[in-house]
């Protein structure tokens, strides 16, 4: 895999990561006497990053989406072969764009409840950490960013959270740190074994190590497990998910938004980039295990979500279920499944990020998230109800909205690879409809009693924050082609990489209509959206 450097702005990705850091440093240096300036400064820094990300989206060459673009490398710790190496391909492009866009929205949409200066500074550090993780192409650099995001999130949960915030913050930190502790050992072992197998200098360069598989099968499997544990905690996969409900429930609204939309993706992205790509044989070997855990997560998350009394906790458990889909799509190890998985990473970020914002708005108005105390909000707040409904339906996977496209592709891929697990997972789609619709019904329908009747509707600012989410939800549901076009070449390259490096492995594709390609699928979905009854039609197509 070669890499392309940008000719017009070679340092684009480095600047993208460093601008939020610079913003945080400016905040740190500002006097405490001007609290009104903290939010604008944070907003400017994150907006610059967002603008840069959008520029990159426009500049990105869809034709060579399998190649790392905006690639750049500096020496960092020369003695150990560690470099600062960044680049995006079709896998990471939309995650980077989504991250860069969600941060300014989360900063505008939610005010710091107290001590704004450290709050916004931590938000910016968090943004830099998340962006750095998605663009890192050096194993140590990746680890460094993967780990550093814990610190700002720890402080956001502990400092601005609710309820048992200190407990939730420590639990979050230790769970994720435990996962990544073993990954560090695995990274170092991988680099040394690779260099001794090759006779070259020690390098932590992802592409060099991945393209030159020298490990013994057994060793690679052990190392894969160490990496997978780190990512499984972050995703989170059953049974290491228990930190998530606590962290989400007690985090401040913006923290929940970022946690769900961006930070969970660090795990799923890692599974693809540092699981499939680095350890193709081990990925094939452990795929049944990962799919099983994913399916358990889907069913378990759905059932647990249905049982929740706290609206935020319900959304948190729904994340466990949704992330299960991404994992089974990834380990279906075919183009449909993996494309769906990557697409679903973005979709889940948009939908669940928006859901947490909306739950935060409800909490701000009613000072409770107990579903039983809410009810009939539709009458006093019709706009809020409408927005909530669109977002909720996108999360359910309604055709025409973004969630459907991703889930369909995932199930399609999983069906070709592990038929019966796909059937079970499909039940999870129905369960999602059950718990989300039921929750919506209890919160928004019925008579508005007491304080519920006086709930104010969406304000202008809140409407403006929600508008981009709704736009993305509808756009990616109606016209996913430009997104899929950019993801698919990278996915194909990964699948081809797995096929090349695992003897006897053939991409599991449909036996009935092997000629149906994703382009046909996207086209048929376009048509389906035009004549309004596309769901069954395109499912037949697969």
């Amino acid at each position: 895999m070669s890499a392309l450097a940008s000719t017009s702005f070679p340092a684009a990705l480095t600047v993208l990561v460093l601008v939020p850091v610079a913003g945080a440093l400016v905040l740190l240096a500002m006097p405490r006497t001007r609290p009104d300036l903290f939010k604008p400064v944070a907003l400017v820094a994150s907006t610059v990053s967002a603008a840069l990300a959008v520029w990159m989206l426009a500049e990105f060459d869809a034709g060579s989406a399998a190649v790392f673009q905006f690639w750049q490398q500096y020496e960092w710790i020369t003695g150990w072969g560690v470099s600062w190496q960044v680049g995006v391909d079709g896998l990471s492009l939309f995650l980077v764009v989504m991250t860069a866009l969600i941060f300014p929205l989360a900063i505008v949409g939610v005010d710091a409840e107290h001590s704004p200066k450290p709050y916004y500074a931590w938000m910016l550090v968090l943004e830099a950490g998340c962006l750095g993780t998605f663009v890192a192409l050096d194993l140590v650099m990746f680890f460094v960013f993967f780990e550093i995001v814990l610190v700002p999130m720890y402080f956001l949960i502990g400092g601005w959270g609710h309820g048992r915030r200190a407990y939730a913050a420590i639990k979050f930190f230790l769970f994720t740190m435990f996962g990544s502790a073993l990954m560090l050992v695995a990274i170092v072992a991988l680099a040394f074994l690779h260099s001794s197998g090759n006779g070259g200098d020690v390098t932590f360069d992802l592409v060099t190590i991945a393209e030159n598989q020298v490990l013994a099968t057994n060793t690679a499997r052990w190392l894969f497990l160490a990496f997978a544990l780190a990512f499984a905690v972050k995703v989170p996969l059953f049974p290491v998910h228990t930190w998530l409900p606590d962290a989400h429930t007690n985090a401040p609204t913006a923290g929940s938004v970022i946690l769900a939309a961006v930070m969970l993706k660090l795990g799923t992205y890692g599974l693809v980039r540092f699981g499939l790509y680095l350890f193709p044989e081990a990925s094939v070997y452990f795929a049944p295990l990962m799919i099983t855990l994913g399916v358990i997560g889907i069913i378990y998350g759905a059932i647990a979500a249905a049982m929740q009394r706290d609206l935020k906790r319900l959304v948190a458990y729904s994340s466990v279920a949704h992330l299960g889909f991404i994992v089974i799509g990834t380990f279906a190890l075919n183009t449909e499944g993996l494309t769906g998985g990557v697409l679903q990473m973005v979709n889940h970020g948009v939908s669940t990020g928006a859901l947490f914002l909306l739950v935060g708005m409800i909490y701000e108005r009613r000072h409770t998230r107990e579903i039983s105390e809410l009810g009939g909000l539709q009458k006093p707040a019709p706009l809020l109800a409408a927005v909530f409904m669109v977002v909720m339906l996108s999360s359910v996977g309604l055709p025409g909205l973004n969630g459907f496209v991703g889930e369909l592709l995932v199930l399609l891929g999983a069906f070709n690879a592990h038929r019966w697990w796909a059937v079970v997972a499909a039940a999870g789609v129905i369960l999602a409809a059950v718990y989300l619709l039921w929750a919506y019904q209890r919160v928004f329908h019925g008579p508005a009693v007491g304080a519920n009747a006086e709930t104010p509707d969406l304000r202008w600012r809140e409407g403006l924050v929600m508008a981009p989410f709704i736009a993305a939800i509808v756009f990616m549901g109606v016209y996913p082609k430009p997104v899929i076009e950019r993801i698919e070449p990278a996915v194909d390259a990964i699948i081809a990489h797995v096929e090349d490096n695992v003897s006897g492995f053939v991409e599991p594709v449909a036996d009935v209509h092997p000629s149906v390609s994703l382009d046909d699928l996207a086209r048929s979905m376009d048509e389906a959206d035009h004549n309004g009854s596309g769901a069954e039609h395109s499912e037949d197509g697969g």
Partner: protein
């Protein structure tokens, strides 16, 4: 006189006196200060001069280290008894740097707590001289001399807070157990001498390289004794029992020195004896160090996690750091030595910075160190709290701090030496230790100060210029070494002979 000497049948060894400046400067500085204090009336010599003098001597020592570093050849003195090679110079820099970092905090601390600053400064410089001798020792006897010079000064320093019973207890415990361990060390030296016929480290190495000892019981027993003796000095479990009480009871700046300079010297000796002299018998001692490292990591991190006193948490965490450094020793390679040296330098800065924050907050009797006394620090003293937070995160091994790079380097050395399980144990124990640091952070930020009305002076203690500068320097160095570790990395690699 010279003519007379030349006619005698005694050949005096050529001594490169400038090469010995890292030893001579602190030793002479201590003696000069001692004499001035005894002769000059104290009204003519304000107490602040003790610390200024100590700082100046340590800084001059650092300059001499930098100058000697430029030389190509190793400096030998006293017929090869003392070798100031790059490794010795590196450790000397860590030792003298720690003293230089601690010195500015002393005047205000000594005035507040009532500790005699002249004695403290003299003993600190003497301990530093002993530590540098240990780092440069090329002979087991010289190593012993350096160790005793350093240890005896440290015993007294630990007991210097005469108003506090715990300080006396700390000194006594440290002394009794330290003397006990010294006996082990001496016995070990004797047995190794018996087995190899020399106490010279290079001689031992070449003897073991040339001859195969068929009945090696005596050598192995000596090796075990040496490990026990030095294990005591670096507070490796199960020989750590003295450390928590001594660290907590000793005056806090002394604790900072024990965690930085004394620890560095102990590990330098460990490397000299085991990696350099007994390197050919690595297969014999590596399993023992493996076990020591595991025990030290486990004991240090688990017990740190259950403490409720900030100083005690830092004491146990110091034990867990010793475990990490032992992971580097266990690798028994040049990479391992480089990692150990990097870790020692990084941890010395972190330890001095952290203990200085504790010292600033510790009140009139130097005993207000409970976690509850930190409550509300984040709101009341944001800069101080941020400084301590950075240092604690560095201890936890968070990226972009020197602590991460240090952990990374020892893990890399262990993995390269195929000690995968030790690396795994170390990383898992780092997670447990992180819990302890996070509890301190929670106390500072996420808990409101309940008794603010009762202790207004304690929640707003005077920081002082010296302590403030030291904390700022420690934080900046910690972050700089984490963001651009290349400089220190190349220095430590050079020192390890890579």
């Amino acid at each position: 006189m010279g003519a007379v000497l030349a006619q005698l049948p005694v050949r005096t060894p050529a001594i490169d006196w400038p090469g010995l400046l890292p030893v001579l400067l602190p030793a002479a500085g201590a003696l000069v200060l001692l004499m001035l204090r005894s002769l000059v009336p104290s009204r003519l010599m304000p107490a602040v001069l003790d610390a200024v003098w100590t700082f100046a001597v340590a800084a001059a020592g650092l300059v001499s280290v930098v100058v000697l570093w430029q030389r190509d050849a190793d400096i030998q003195a006293f017929g090869g008894q003392l070798v100031m090679d790059r490794m010795a110079l590196f450790v000397a820099a860590v030792v003298l740097g720690s003293v230089a970092l601690v010195a500015p905090t002393l005047p205000r601390y000594c005035r507040r707590v009532g500790v005699a600053s002249a004695e403290l400064c003299v003993l600190a410089l003497l301990a530093a001289a002993g530590a540098v001798v240990m780092a440069g020792a090329a002979d087991l006897i010289v190593l012993f001399l350096g160790l005793e010079t350093m240890s005896i000064a440290a015993y007294v320093m630990a007991a210097l807070n005469l108003r506090r019973l715990e300080s006396l207890e700390a000194g006594l415990k440290y002394f009794v157990l330290g003397a006990f361990s010294t006996a082990f060390l001496l016995f070990g030296i004797a047995l190794v001498y018996g087995a190899t016929g020399t106490t010279n480290l290079e001689g031992i190495a070449s003897y073991l390289d040339t001859f195969i000892i068929l009945r090696d019981g005596m050598l192995l027993a000596g090796l075990a004794m040496l490990l026990v003796g030095l294990g005591f000095k670096v507070a490796a479990a199960p020989f750590h029992a003295w450390a928590p009480d001594t660290y907590v009871g000793a005056p806090t700046p002394v604790t900072a020195l024990m965690a930085s300079a004394v620890k560095a010297a102990g590990f330098a000796a460990l490397i000299r004896v085991f990696v350099e002299a007994l390197g050919t018998r690595a297969d014999d001692w590596r399993p023992a160090v493996f076990a020591l490292a595991c025990a030290t990591l486990a004991v240090g991190s688990v017990l740190a996690a259950v403490q409720s006193d900030a100083k005690r948490i830092l004491a146990y965490s110091s034990i867990s750091h010793a475990g990490f450094i032992l992971v580097g020793v266990q690798a028994a390679s040049d990479e391992g030595v480089a990692a150990v040296l990097f870790y020692l330098a990084a941890y010395a800065v972190i330890a001095v910075g952290s203990f200085t924050v504790v010292a600033v907050l510790s009140g009139q009797r130097d005993d207000r160190t409970g976690l509850d006394t930190l409550a509300g620090l984040g709101a009341g003293r944001p800069a101080l709290a941020l400084g301590l937070t950075v240092l604690l995160l560095a201890q936890a091994g968070v990226p972009f701090t020197s602590g991460f790079v240090a952990k990374f380097s020892v893990i890399a050395a262990a993995v390269e030496a195929r000690s995968y399980w030790l690396a795994v144990v170390a990383m898992v124990s780092a997670v447990v230790a992180a819990f302890a640091y996070l509890r301190v952070v929670v106390a500072m930020y996420f808990r409101d100060s309940g008794d603010e009305a009762d202790t207004p002076e304690a929640s707003k203690p005077a920081l002082g210029l010296g302590a403030g500068a030291v904390i700022v320097a420690a934080v900046l160095l910690t972050v700089a070494m984490g963001v651009v570790p290349g400089v220190l990395e190349s220095l430590s690699s050079t020192a390890a002979g890579l």
